[in-house]
Symmetry: C2
Subunit: 718 residues, 2 copies
């Protein structure tokens, strides 16, 4: 490793962050008096979340399959609407008509060297009555091109771009072959990218399975003896090409509402061009054992009791894949508490409601924890809590097919959301386990500070548990950190398309029932979060985040923290830039980032002095403070470029994007970074130029926010 | 890691090594004229090794089982004797009567939760006629106490000391249990230690198996499709407690010859106190799948298609183990070329002849490669080559039961060997693969230099291939290195008991047939070394080593290199000595090592100037040179202490020993290091004192050698 000089790091030493408000009030963005009131309201909220209630909701929401487009999904939307109305919220339902494939006949048969019809369904487990449910989706692949395929098999490990490139180096052609890949691999990669890259290389079809090394007996006891995936477990999933754009494949940039023109099926860039079939590892073993050719490299060997081979052949399969593609209804539900001082501004906290079968973990665990947050906030409202800004709870109607409900809504109300949505908090599935938080880094100090006040089932605070797990996991001496957001859940349209600062956080870990029949209420009681201790603690933390964001006098966005994160990413690019081809451009980005940090630091100092004036003083300056908050919100949105990043015009955030080849894992400064990785130096220079412009714009807005705030300085200290 | 100041490293910078002879002649220890002659003789030797001949010998030596004590083993000794007589060598056979167990009835049965009689034999493979051979040893465990045992199973991973300590921390008692462990693990651990530590903790018996993660389908295709261990392959082996002492367990320190008193069986410290049964992984799966209790830690999970559990129980087994312990004959064979100038001094190069069944790889591959070395040296002798010292080729009659032939011989002729045996070169099994060399570090420069002249099947020299494999393997920037010798082959008595500098080197890698029925001629032709290309190259390298050691005017022992290695080991101990409890003692060792380095450097300079006088001048100083060589030999032997190291009086080498808990892997500076590891600080201080004394003695002898050599300095340069 060569030494790099970090301009941003130098400034970081020179200009320490001022956490405005924290010193006086303990709460970022609050005057001392309002912080005290905020804490009192939070105590009322925190007394509410309750494991018995969570269990009751959880049972109710997991009785029948409710994937996107079903009547049961609509019924559950109404159930939530009614609940929220009971909480006193204003409610609203929004409907989209989205292209959704439901499976027709699916068949996969090994035809050589022996004939075996492979099972694409999962047997019920006697201990678990819910596994006898009917009407759930079988082992299926959404958004693939239906058809028949047959041919010799090639094993391509995780189907990452590096795996395919290694096959090319070995001279193994995929032309006309059936590629078999396993789920997972690092960096975190969506299914669709495995298929896209196989299709580009001429593959006729893809078989995908979960290897027991990632999720099965290698990890621990399998269901029903343990939490991990049994021999018959199948991971269903959407193969939509999310890094191109998420949501309805026929309506990029537009909502799927009547009157909006649809693309032709063949023209949808995000639908995979070949058929795909997911299978269990028990079934995969039956075909993998017959693949010949070279033995795989050591790290391609999985956990099945055979030596893995690359092929091609002699094993051959026949695949028959039918899907019924129709426009089907997707319902979002919202429940709103209207703010008192800035009612048009709102914090949205939401998660999805649809699942592949019963979805007790994914997503209902998250939904019921969030219901408890809502019930807690409602209790505070009932006792007189009036947040400064509005709070909206939401439930998306189609996430698993890949972000349908959130994307269409974000596209429909783009202008309003960019103007008024303060922050999006994504609350997905959870289980008892490690805490994780990803977010815009302007929100990092706020999230960490809040975690100090939140409980944890096995530590004195969430913060303490988080810090302990960082040091156990070898997370380095850097303390608690927030990660960058990639994609894979409903924050994508807000963060990447609209530039709304987002966070996605919660408890979790490996599970074993992901996207399978076995993701049931019974499984969750035994292995997910027995007693809902983590779910209750999470409801508390989320409640505090929402209430503080809605109630802070000055929005708790720290642009010094954003600049520090961007500075780290620039350092990574400098390290990648071995040949120094982008030296000047990277220096410009570094300098622009440093200026953002200075502006953030100066603005923070002003906010600090404004808040020191006390609640009454701040209240007397409402009009100015509203303008300051508007500018604080706006600054982060300046990191959007309307032209979009390289190869992906829908993705407009120049700091965060899902990797083009990964989908799940973030690529930071994606336009520059991915062009560098591909050796596209001219493109990298253009992308760098866009990034510098965006940083300059953001810096300008942060500076204006600080200047505006000076108008609200208390007379005695100005 | 804290910074340590290496005294030795400082001197290493100040005083570069002088490779006496190398600069003028290209050969360490040779004058220019003799180096030229040496190279000419080596060319004659090197023209001889031949793959067809190797194949012929290989076939002849692998027709029938020939384990220690059998008539076939004796017959092969006579075959070698006759061959060597044909080469013109003086031959000799030596016989010992050693306690050797041959198996009686062996049975292992799973009795709960189902009844399964487990197979302890390996089925033949149709492609490989040799696997139909009769009379070989079954899956057996030598030197365990016969008997019956039954009880619940506990899985103890590799059965390393750390594994047993983890079980203790978890509160899992082994009292009365049957412990099941897998072979292997790092550091390299002999079977016997796994059993010793289980017995100490109260286990009733041990079942041992090879996990496919170490040797089986996880590594690659299994026999007969590939080289790796099939589901039915069983690793037999000796469980003798070698780190206590090797060889006949009833005659420690003494040869097993008539008239020598034998210990009672019960008093033999090296025989395991409980019964043991090795099995295949196919059979192990049948019992491991029924072990319950906690799931194992992640790195205890093996490659079988189950989640591994610790137990105890509910699985239960019954074991019945009978052995017929008898004194059985073990024959060593030697073939000698008598030296011209120092005929009493000799270089011994040997390997073993016995095997568990047919032993095509272990050890016959090594034996036939060494036969080609012998044939090559014989060809040179026939054309007039007269080495300065004697050369002896040897074949040990019982190594697999653990070093029987070599240990008894070493114990019988201890005095003569300490006086006259210059170096022992161990040539064990080989296969095509990576080159490895372990040796006393005084021989490191000599071995590396020689590798530059030796061929390699796929590189321009052995050295080049060795260096490339170091950098591929991430061996660090340190270049080609020689490792420390632990135990596990026949150098043990010479190096560790007598202090004779030793080396063990050759090609190798993971194989899959180790100690099984499948170690056959057919396997070797397909997977071992097809075409014997590596075997021929190895015969050449070994020939050069032997001829140079026998022919060098001044012995090529470099004590600066020895001191550098010891200095590294001292640095490791300083790092271990966190509390600084041994600070003074380690400083003393460091200082004594530095003085050894200075003495070595000064002596090397003198040798350099002596050799610069030319071959004729050196020949005119024969008496002095002989005395110098005697002192050079003696210096290394001063690192022996007659009291032995901590816990193990038979082990007398204060620099190298097999680890007490490992057996295979070396512990350097073992007395001090192992006492430190166990927190025995008083013992560590005593051991450190012994080491300082030994270093002072060795330094004194090296200094005397240099002083003596000054008497032989050419007049014009003295």
């Amino acid at each position: 490793m060569k030494h790099t000089l970090s301009i941003v790091a130098l400034f970081a030493i020179a200009l320490p962050t001022v956490a405005y408000g924290t010193q006086q009030s303990g709460l970022l963005g609050f005057s001392a008096q309002n912080a005290e009131r905020e804490r009192a309201w939070e105590r009322i909220m925190a007394a509410v979340p309750d494991s018995a209630k969570m269990r009751e909701y959880h049972f109710a929401l997991t009785r029948r399959p409710h994937h996107a487009g079903t009547e049961e999904n609509h019924r559950l939307a109404l159930y939530l609407r009614d609940l929220w109305e009971g909480f006193g919220f204003e409610t609203e339902m929004v409907k989209y008509d989205v292209l959704i494939p439901w499976p027709g006949e699916l068949r996969l048969k090994l035809v050589y060297p022996e004939e075996i019809e492979l099972s694409l369904t999962e047997p019920p487990v006697p201990e678990d009555p819910d596994t006898y449910v009917e009407g759930g989706l079988p082992g299926m692949a959404a958004y693939v091109t239906p058809g028949d395929a047959s041919g010799e098999l090639v094993y391509a490990n995780y189907g990452r771009i590096g795996d395919y490139r290694l096959l090319e180096e070995m001279g193994v052609s995929l032309e006309g072959k059936i590629v078999i890949v396993r789920y997972g691999g690092s960096p975190g990669q969506m299914r669709g990218m495995k298929v896209r890259e196989a299709a580009i290389r001429g593959a006729a079809a893809v078989v995908i399975y979960t290897d027991p090394e990632e999720d099965g007996y290698v990890r621990g006891d399998v269901y029903p003896n343990g939490r991990w995936r049994p021999w018959e477990g199948i991971q269903r999933g959407s193969f939509l090409d999310v890094p191109i754009y998420p949501g309805d494949p026929l309506t990029p940039f537009q909502p799927s509402i009547p009157g909006v023109e649809r693309l032709a099926f063949e023209d949808a860039a995000t639908i995979q061009k070949i058929p795909v079939q997911p299978i269990s590892y028990g079934e995969a073993l039956k075909i993998l054992r017959h693949i010949g050719g070279p033995v795989v490299p050591a790290d391609w060997q999985g956990g099945l009791p055979i030596t893995y081979h690359i092929g091609p052949g002699p094993a051959r399969v026949e695949m028959h894949v039918e899907y019924d593609y129709q426009q089907r209804p997707v319902w979002n539900v919202f429940g709103k508490i209207t703010g008192e001082i800035e009612p048009d501004k709102f914090v949205l906290v939401a998660g999805h409601r649809d699942s592949w079968v019963l979805g007790a973990r994914d997503p209902t665990s998250g939904a019921v924890s969030l219901l408890e947050t809502a019930r807690g906030v409602a209790a505070a409202v009932e006792q007189g809590f009036r947040p400064r800004r509005s709070i909206v709870f939401g439930s998306w109607g189609g996430e698993d097919f890949f972000l349908l409900g959130s994307t269409e809504w974000g596209e429909q109300f783009a202008e309003e959301l960019r103007e008024n949505m303060v922050v999006y908090i994504n609350r997905e599935s959870y289980i008892a386990g490690a805490w994780g938080a990803s977010a815009n880094h302007s929100l990092e100090p706020f999230i960490i500070e809040t975690s100090r006040d939140a409980p944890h089932p096995e530590a004195s605070s969430l913060y303490d548990a988080w810090a302990a797990q960082r040091s156990r996991g070898g997370g380095g001496g850097g303390g608690v950190r927030v990660n960058a957001l990639g994609s894979g859940s409903d924050y994508t349209v807000f963060l990447d398309h609209l530039g709304v600062p987002s966070m996605s956080l919660g408890y979790g870990g490996g599970n074993g029932v992901y996207h399978s029949l076995y993701d049931t209420f019974y499984w969750f009681q035994r292995f997910g979060d027995p007693g809902y201790r983590y779910g209750v603690a999470q409801a508390d933390m989320v409640g505090r985040l929402v209430m503080r964001l809605a109630n802070a006098e000055i929005l708790p966005f720290d642009y010094t923290s954003a600049a520090d994160a961007i500075g780290e990413y620039v350092d990574q690019l400098v390290t990648m830039d071995d040949g120094g081809r982008l030296r000047e451009e990277l220096r410009s980005i570094g300098a622009a980032t440093a200026r953002l940090r200075i502006a953030g630091s100066e603005a923070n100092s002003v906010y600090e002095r404004v808040l020191a004036g006390g609640a009454e003083w701040v209240a007397s300056q409402q009009q100015t403070i509203r303008e300051v908050n508007q500018l604080i919100m706006q600054a982060e949105r300046e990191l959007i470029d309307e032209r979009g990043i390289w190869r992906r015009p829908w993705y407009r955030n120049l700091v965060y994007a899902p990797g083009y080849y990964e989908g799940y894992t973030a690529k930071t400064l994606p336009g520059v970074r991915e062009a560098m990785e591909e050796g596209e130096w001219d493109i990298a220079r253009t992308q760098a130029g866009m990034l510098v412009e965006a940083l300059v714009r953001a810096t300008d807005v942060v500076t204006r926010a600080g200047e505006k705030a000076k108008e609200a300085l208390p007379r005695q200290v100005s």
